[in-house]
C-alpha cells in the first residue's frame, strides 16, 4: 500500500560525469524511471551495464535528441554537464519541450551571485545546484566545530547533527543510552551508532562501546557542553591551510575569511594563483607543489589548526592528508571523490572526508522526494548518513499529519526509525516519550534503509 502512494518519476539526466552518475545511482536506487543522456557512447555503454536505466547518446541541447529521450513526458530534467551555459540552455529547452521541472548545475562564481535568482526565474529552473559551493559550506561547518567528524545543519537554526568517534577508553563506553541523560546532564540524543560495518538506530537500552562512531542531535549550545563534558572539545580553527586552488577552495577561503580565520592556499598553477589572490585579498596564496613536504613544512603546516586537501586527485589528497595528520595538525579534512577510495581513506585513519558528489546527490534527492510527495508536507533537509546506510530528514508538520498530538510513546513507529528532534518555534526539544508533535513543528527523523517521503510514513 505504501508503494502505491510512492509516485515513480520519469527523470532525464543529461551529462553523466562523476556527479551525474552518482545522482543516477541514487535515483535508480529509489525506483525512478531514469534516462541517461550523454554525448559519449562509451560513457552511456558503461552506465547501462551497471544501472537499470535507458541510455541515449547525443547532444542535450539538441531538440531532436531530447525528444527521442522522452523529454516531453519527463517529470524532471537534470542537467549535470561540464558547462554552466550548456546546462542552462538544456534546461531551458527541456522546459519548453514539456519537462515539468528542471535542475541545472551552475557552478561559475559569476553566475552564483545576485544574477542567479534572475536566471532561475527567467529560465524556469526549479533548482540550481553548485557542487563546489555546497562542498565549501560543508567544509566550513566542519571547521567551525572541529571535534566532530561530520556536521550536518538543518533548516531550523541552532539545531545540528554531528558525528563523533568515541575514544577506546571513553567514559561513555559501557553506558546505556537511557543512562546517558541521567549521568551527563547534557540534553542530547544519540540517533545512530556505527560499529565497524554495522549501523544501528539505537533504543534506550543500547550500550555504547569505545571506538563507536555515534551521531548526535542537539542544539548547538548543548553539543558544545556535551563535548566539553567528554573532554573532546577542540578549539575552533584559527588558521587553515588549503591544498589546491579549485573552486571549492575559493568559496571556502571566502567564507572563512569573512569570519576572520587566516587562510593559506597552496596551488601549483601560477595563473590560478593570480586569479585567486585577486579575488581573495585577505588570503595568502602560495604558488608551489603541495605534494612537496618541504614546502608544506616551510609554509607552517605544523602550526596550522586545520588542513584541507582539495586537489583534483583523490590519491594526492589522501597521501598529503596522512602526512599532515602525522605532523600533528589537529583537524585534517580530505576530499575524496571515488567511493572505493573513501573506504580506504577511512581505514588509513582519515576521519573527516567530504565528497562533493554526495552532497549534490543529497540536494537533488531532497528535491525529488519533495516532488514525489503528493500530500505536500515538506522535506526541508535530507542527509545520507553512515555511508548511505541511514538518512536524516527534516519535515515541517502539516495539519493532515497522522501523528499530531499523540505522545511519542503511544505512536507505533516503524522499526529502524527514530525521532531525533522536534523544533517548536525557535526552541529545540530533545524528544522523550511524553512529548507530542504539533502542527508547524519541524521534526527531524533518522531512519535506516527506509525511504520516507512523508512524516506520516514513520507509522506502522
Amino acid at each position: 500500500m505504501k508503494n502505491e502512494k510512492k509516485r515513480i518519476m520519469k527523470i532525464l539526466v543529461a551529462g553523466c560525469g562523476k556527479i551525474g552518475v552518482s545522482v543516477i545511482s541514487r535515483l535508480v536506487d529509489e525506483g525512478h524511471d531514469v534516462t541517461a543522456l550523454d554525448s559519449s557512447a562509451a560513457v552511456i555503454g558503461g552506465i547501462t551495464n551497471v544501472y537499470d536505466v535507458i541510455g541515449a547518446v547525443g547532444n542535450a541541447t539538441d531538440c531532436e535528441t531530447l525528444a527521442e529521450a522522452g523529454v516531453a513526458e519527463a517529470d524532471l530534467f537534470i542537467a549535470m554537464m561540464h558547462s554552466d551555459e550548456l546546462n542552462m540552455l538544456a534546461c531551458f529547452i527541456a522546459r519548453r519541450m514539456g519537462a515539468r521541472h528542471t535542475i541545472a548545475r551552475i557552478r561559475n562564481p559569476e553566475y552564483n551571485d545576485s544574477s542567479l535568482d534572475f536566471m532561475r526565474r527567467e529560465l524556469g529552473l526549479s533548482l540550481a545546484v553548485n557542487p563546489e559551493m555546497l562542498a565549501a559550506r560543508d567544509l566550513y561547518n566542519m571547521l567551525k566545530l572541529p571535534s566532530a567528524l561530520k556536521v550536518e545543519k538543518f533548516a531550523a537554526r541552532n539545531f545540528e547533527m554531528i558525528e563523533i568517534r568515541l575514544k577506546p577508553d571513553s567514559r561513555l563506553s559501557g553506558v546505556s543510552l537511557s543512562d546517558l541523560r541521567n549521568h551527563f546532564k547534557a540534553k542530547i540524543l544519540v540517533c545512530y551508532v556505527r560499529r565497524g560495518e554495522d549501523v544501528f538506530i539505537p533504543s534506550g537500552n543500547f550500550v555504547l562501546q569505545g571506538e563507536d562512531r555515534i551521531g548526535i542531535t542537539a542544539s548547538s549550545a548543548e553539543i558544545q557542553r556535551f563535548l566539553r563534558e567528554l573532554d573532546m572539545l577542540k578549539k575552533q580553527a584559527r588558521s587553515v591551510m588549503i591544498l589546491g586552488g579549485s573552486r571549492i577552495s575559493f568559496y571556502l577561503a571566502k567564507m572563512l575569511g569573512d569570519i576572520g580565520i587566516d587562510v593559506k592556499i597552496i596551488e601549483k598553477n601560477e595563473e590560478h594563483c593570480e586569479t585567486l589572490s585577486g579575488l581573495l585579498p585577505r588570503a595568502i596564496v602560495i604558488c608551489g607543489d603541495g605534494t612537496d613536504q618541504e614546502l608544506l613544512l616551510e609554509e607552517g603546516l605544523a602550526g596550522s589548526d586545520a588542513f584541507v586537501a582539495l586537489t583534483g586527485g583523490d590519491e594526492e589528497n589522501i597521501l598529503v592528508s596522512i602526512f599532515a595528520a602525522a605532523r600533528g595538525v589537529s583537524k585534517v579534512i580530505t576530499k575524496v571523490n571515488r567511493e572505493s577510495l573513501e573506504g580506504l581513506a577511512d581505514q588509513l585513519g582519515l576521519e573527516s572526508i567530504i565528497s562533493p558528489k554526495r552532497t549534490v546527490a543529497d540536494v537533488v534527492m531532497r528535491y525529488v522526494r519533495a516532488r514525489q510527495n503528493s500530500r505536500g508536507s515538506h522535506i526541508e533537509t535530507l542527509y545520507k548518513l553512515a555511508d548511505d546506510k541511514a538518512e536524516a530528514m527534516e519535515f515541517i508538520v502539516t495539519a493532515d499529519a497522522n501523528c499530531i498530538g499523540i505522545p511519542l510513546k503511544d505512536l507505533k513507529i516503524k522499526q529502524g526509525i527514530l525521532i531525533a528532534g522536534i523544533i517548536r518555534g525557535r526552541i529545540p526539544i530533545i524528544p522523550t516519550g511524553a512529548d507530542r508533535i504539533c502542527e508547524g513543528d519541524r521534526v527531524i527523523v533518522v531512519s535506516a534503509e527506509k525511504k520516507l517521503q512523508d512524516l506520516s510514513d514513520i507509522l506502522q
Binding site: K10, V28, D33, V34, T35, A41, T48, N49, V50, Y51, D52, V53, I54
Partner: protein
C-alpha cells in the same frame, strides 16, 4: 567470476521450468492420461534440483559482469533442455534419453527438427509440452524470469548482460528504463499476440487443442506439429493464417512496442522490416513462377510458395507440401532463406535480416575504402550511424558462424548419409529452421542419425539460438581458470 550467482540463477531457472510444466500437467489431467505421473515426477525433480542449487549457492555478492551474463545464459539453456527432456523420457514416449534431449533442444531453440516418426501416437500432455517448449524458447526463459522476479539484487540493471546474451540480434536495447518492465512488456506483447492467434485459428475452424499447440509453435517460430503431415492436412485458409502468424512473429518486437505507444510512423521507418517483407515477397514470387508449370493453378502455387517461404524465412519449419520434390531453383531459394532468418529481436533464428543488411553495407563500405583509401565512411541504418563496435562485431560473428557450420557438417559426415542430407541438416539445425532436404527432408525425420550426431546437432541448435558467443565463452577453458 561470481560462481555462486551463476549456479543460484540456474537453480531459480530450474524451479521456474518446473512451474511451467504445471501447464502440460494440467493438460494431461484434463485428458485423463497416464503421463500425469511422469509430469509430477519431472516437476518434483526440477523443484528439488533447483531448490538445492538455490540453497547451496546463496550468493553474498550479486554483482555480475558480461562474462557471467554469457555463462548464465549458456548453462541455463543446457540445464533447461536436460530437465525439459525428462517428461518425454520418464513417460517412455521417447525411450532414449538422447532422443528426448534432442527433441527438447529442438523445442526450446525453436528449431522444430524431430526424431519422432509417428507423432500422432503421442499423448496430449506430451504434445502440449513439446509445443510449449517452442513458446518458452521463442522469447527466452531468462527474459521471462526477469519479468517475474522482483526488481532487486539478482534482477538489477546488471541483468542487461543476461538479456543481451539471450536475445538474438546484433544490438539488444531496452524499451523502457527498467529492465524488468522491458521484459514484462515483451512478454505481454508475446502473450497477447499468441492469444490472438489461438482465437483466430479456433474461430477459423481448427480444433481447440490444435489451435493452442500450433499457436505456440508459430509464436516461437518453432515448427513442431501434432500431425504426421505437419500443416499440409489443414484447410488452405488455416495455412494462410499460420503463414501470416509466422511472419508476424518474425518481426522485431520493438516495433510492436512502438505501435503500442502509438508511434506507428517510427515502426514503419524500420528499414529491417521493409527489407524482411521484400525478401519474402521476392522469394515467394520466384518460387510461384518456378512452380507454375507443374502446378497449373496459380492460386495453389502461390499459396504453397508463400506458406513455405514464410515458414522457412522465419525459421519455423512448418511443412505444407513436400518441397523436396520442387525444382532446383525453388529449393535453392528456400536454402538461402534458411540463412537469412527473421528480424533481430523476434523469435526467429538465422543470421537475422538486420545483420545481413549491416554485413552488406559494411562490405560495400570496405570496397569504397579500397577505391578511395583515405575516405572515412560510416555504416548507416535507419538514418543513424551504426556504432562502430557493432559493425566490427559483425564480421567475427560471420567467421564463427561458418566455422560452426563447417564443423557440424564435418562431424555429421561420420554417418553414412549423402552430401545434401548432411549439409542441409547442419544448416537447418544451426539456423533453427527444422526440415532440410533429402533424408532430413520435409516428410522425413532425424531419427536415423546416430546418437553422436544427435548430440552434435543438439549443440548446433543451441549455438544457433544463442548466437554462438555465450556457449563458446562458457566452454573455453580460460573462462574457468583463475587468471
Amino acid at each position: 567470476m561470481n560462481r555462486r550467482m551463476v549456479f543460484y540463477t540456474l537453480g531459480q531457472l530450474t524451479v521456474l521450468e518446473g512451474a511451467l510444466m504445471l501447464l502440460p500437467l494440467g493438460t494431461a489431467l484434463l485428458y485423463r492420461e497416464r503421463t500425469v505421473s511422469s509430469f509430477l515426477c519431472a516437476i518434483g525433480i526440477a523443484f528439488l534440483a533447483g531448490g538445492l542449487l538455490m540453497a547451496l549457492f546463496r550468493p553474498k555478492n550479486r554483482i555480475i559482469y558480461a562474462k557471467e551474463g554469457f555463462i548464465i545464459t549458456a548453462l541455463s539453456w543446457i540445464v533447461l533442455s536436460a530437465v525439459g527432456a525428462l517428461p518425454f523420457f520418464i513417460s517412455g514416449e521417447i525411450p532414449s534419453y538422447i532422443d528426448a534431449f534432442f527433441e527438447t533442444v529442438s523445442g526450446f531453440t525453436t528449431t522444430g527438427a524431430s526424431i519422432l516418426t509417428n507423432v500422432e501416437s503421442l499423448s496430449h500432455g506430451i504434445l502440449f509440452w513439446r509445443s510449449f517448449t517452442h513458446w518458452i524458447g521463442g522469447m527466452g526463459i531468462l527474459v521471462l524470469m526477469m519479468a517475474i522476479l522482483p526488481a532487486s539484487g539478482a534482477n538489477s540493471g546488471r541483468s542487461i548482460h543476461i538479456m543481451r546474451a539471450e536475445m538474438p540480434g546484433p544490438v539488444v536495447g531496452k524499451l523502457v528504463p527498467r529492465l524488468r518492465d522491458t521484459a514484462k512488456i515483451l512478454y505481454l506483447i508475446y502473450i497477447a499476440l499468441t492469444t490472438l492467434l489461438i482465437l483466430v485459428l479456433f474461430v477459423a475452424g481448427m480444433p481447440l487443442f490444435d489451435s493452442v499447440v500450433n499457436a505456440f509453435a508459430t509464436a516461437g517460430t518453432g515448427g513442431f506439429c501434432i500431425r504426421a503431415d505437419s500443416i499440409a492436412g489443414y484447410a488452405p485458409h488455416l495455412q494462410w493464417i499460420l503463414a501470416v502468424g509466422m511472419l508476424a512473429f518474425g518481426v522485431n518486437f520493438n516495433l510492436y512496442y512502438l505501435i503500442l505507444i502509438r508511434n506507428l510512423r517510427g515502426a514503419l521507418r524500420s528499414a529491417e522490416l521493409w527489407c524482411y517483407l521484400a525478401i519474402c515477397a521476392v522469394s515467394a514470387g520466384i518460387i510461384t513462377l518456378n512452380l507454375m508449370p507443374s502446378y497449373g493453378s496459380i492460386s495453389h502455387a502461390f499459396r504453397d510458395a508463400s506458406v513455405q517461404v514464410a515458414s522457412i524465412m522465419t525459421t519455423t519449419g512448418y511443412v505444407s507440401v513436400d518441397f523436396d520434390l520442387w525444382p532446383q531453383l525453388s529449393k535453392a531459394v528456400l536454402f538461402l532463406l534458411m540463412f537469412v532468418g527473421g528480424c533481430a529481436g523476434s523469435t526467429a533464428g538465422g543470421l537475422k535480416v538486420s545483420r545481413v543488411m549491416l554485413l552488406l553495407r559494411y562490405a560495400k563500405q570496405s570496397l569504397m575504402r579500397m577505391l578511395h583509401p583515405r575516405s572515412v565512411r560510416a555504416v548507416h541504418m535507419d538514418g543513424k550511424k551504426v556504432d562502430e563496435a557493432t559493425v566490427e562485431s559483425i564480421s567475427p560473428y560471420l567467421i564463427l558462424y561458418f566455422c560452426v557450420l563447417i564443423c557440424t557438417f564435418f562431424l555429421l559426415c561420420f554417418d553414412a548419409f549423402d552430401f545434401e542430407t548432411n549439409i542441409t541438416a547442419a544448416v537447418t539445425c544451426f539456423n533453427n529452421v527444422g526440415p532440410g532436404f533429402a533424408a532430413v527432408g520435409p516428410t522425413q525425420s532425424f531419427a536415423a542419425y546416430s546418437a553422436f550426431s544427435k548430440l552434435v546437432l543438439s549443440a548446433t541448435m543451441l549455438l544457433g539460438r544463442l548466437e554462438i558467443i555465450p556457449l563458446l565463452i562458457t566452454f573455453s577453458p580460460s573462462t574457468w581458470t583463475k587468471k
